[in-house]
């Protein structure tokens, strides 16, 4: 079981490393989106500092959409998804492996993008512990929910555009929770960071369990 989780996660991560999509493209994409926001909002530094947490997380979500889309695209490209079904690997392991691979990518992205935000938006970190925990919990939440929804839309032929529509509303709680937690960690608003962290952890746990349980039913394709 754990061996299989590792097998799937290893395969997905290896493909990502090979194609260098993450480092060469998703990260620049994320930075670009940040820059566009800064343009569009056209505000002073002070306002940006206040909005930094929210913009950070909207950007992470948009980049996550790309990462999730790719994770399923490689399986669908030439029928590997069917073979996974036939392989006898427990669907729970498939879910775990894909979610783990996506979570790893998101954490890497968060670290790089976080550095960018600290530099570009000139924020200072007050609570490192909260920051790290919130970052991890949110990554786990987005990865589990994303894997579930990625599988839901996989093979419907319009993945690229359908995924955002379904996933973004679902991860809205993560967006809110992570934003509040980061606001606290950055000291820009006196939100109760640790309470929001609870929400994030809960979200990740619920989607983790729900995803793992329902994945089998999802995959039991037509």
């Amino acid at each position: 079981m754990f061996r299989d989780v590792w097998l799937i996660a290893g395969k997905d991560l290896r493909i990502e490393m090979r194609s260098r999509v993450g480092l060469n493209q998703i990260v620049p994409f994320a930075v670009t989106v940040l820059v566009l926001f800064a343009f569009a909002l056209d505000t002073d530094q002070e306002a940006l500092r206040t909005y930094a947490p929210g913009l950070f997380w909207v950007t992470v979500l948009l980049a996550a959409l790309l990462a999730i889309g790719r994770s399923f695209a490689v399986d669908l490209a030439d029928g590997a998804a069917d073979r996974l079904l036939l392989s006898g690997i427990d669907p729970i392991a498939v879910f775990g492996g894909k979610a783990a691979a996506i979570a790893v990518q998101l954490v890497v992205l968060e670290v790089l993008l976080g550095a960018g935000v600290v530099l570009l938006f000139d924020v200072t970190v007050h609570r490192y512990g909260l920051l790290v925990c919130a970052g991890l919990a949110a990554a786990a939440g987005v990865a589990t929910a994303g894997t579930l929804y990625g599988a839901l839309v996989a093979g419907l032929g319009v993945r690229e555009t359908l995924l955002p529509v379904l996933l973004l509303p679902v991860v809205a709680p993560v967006l809110i929770g992570a934003t509040r937690a980061f606001q606290d960690a950055f000291g820009v608003a006196g939100a109760e960071g640790w309470a929001w962290l609870g929400l994030l952890a809960g979200f990740a746990a619920i989607y983790g369990v729900f995803g793992a349980l329902s994945y089998g039913a999802l995959l039991e394709e037509a």
Binding site: D4, L7, K11, R14, I15, R18, S19, V74, A77, D78, G79, A80, D82, R83, L84, L85, L86, S87, G88, I89, G216, E220, E221, A222
Partner: protein
């Protein structure tokens, strides 16, 4: 003895089109069976149904003793399907692909080496990314990653397509070996002359139903295939 495949009035809708329109079929273990028939007859759908990848809309079916209506997950573990698509990851090398599917099926690394050897995927080819293969090499890699599974029921959809003469012979040897070892092999193919050497039992598929038949080189149903198809209407 229990049938390897047993279908009774099996109907499969793809979208709203009855790709299978009431199939009755029995395949006994150890048999080599050929599905032949015009394009769109339903051969691929029939193979996918037997693999547990399509569902029965009505009718009943059992594969290797498992009910197709309720135990498809069990079926899937015990069969191997070579489909029209290769099931490989473009960004991984041939050996990485074959190893991945071998590990997923619990096969050992000697199985991997053997499969690669058999399909002449040695030397440079083994470390080439699948995206850089020619059509036939890719198909060979796909077969290699199936061979490691050692399944009880082989479902091969046009197994010779795109392969060169040498690999065609390899495939024939594989099929004969599998059948000799007690596995069941079901093929769908249009290359009737080629398949004839395997001496399969021929099953004609026309318009979503099957009809037993004997001479593998016999050409298809005398009435134009399109007529037979037209009986199936979108429901």
């Amino acid at each position: 003895m229990e049938s390897a495949v047993r279908l009774r009035a099996a109907v499969t809708l793809l979208g709203r089109f009855p790709a299978l329109a009431g199939v009755d079929l029995d395949i006994i273990p150890g048999e080599i069976v050929l599905f032949k028939g015009p394009n769109g007859a339903g051969k691929t759908t029939l193979l996918r149904l037997c693999a547990g990848l399509c569902s029965l809309s009505t009718g009943q079916g059992w594969v290797l003793g498992h009910d197709l209506n309720s135990e498809r997950r069990m079926v899937r573990r015990r069969v191997a399907l070579l489909g029209h698509r290769t099931g490989l990851y473009d960004d991984l090398t041939v050996i990485e692909n074959v190893s991945f599917w071998a590990q997923a099926a619990g096969a050992s690394s000697t199985d991997v080496d053997e499969a690669m050897e058999r399909l002449s995927l040695t030397g440079r080819l083994a470390d080439t990314r699948v995206a850089r293969l020619s059509a036939g090499q890719r198909r060979r890699a796909s077969i290699a990653s199936l061979v490691v599974r050692r399944p009880e029921l082989w479902l091969l959809d046009e197994p010779h397509a795109g392969l060169d003469q040498q690999t065609r012979d390899t495939v024939d040897t594989l099929v004969r070996g599998a059948a000799a070892a007690g596995a069941t092999v079901v093929l769908a193919s249009h290359e009737l002359e080629r398949i004839a050497v395997l001496e399969p039992r021929v099953v004609s598929v026309v318009g979503g139903v099957v009809r037993a038949d004997d001479d593998p080189t016999d050409s298809e149903s005398p009435d134009p295939s399109s007529e037979a198809e037209d009986d199936r209407r979108v429901s």
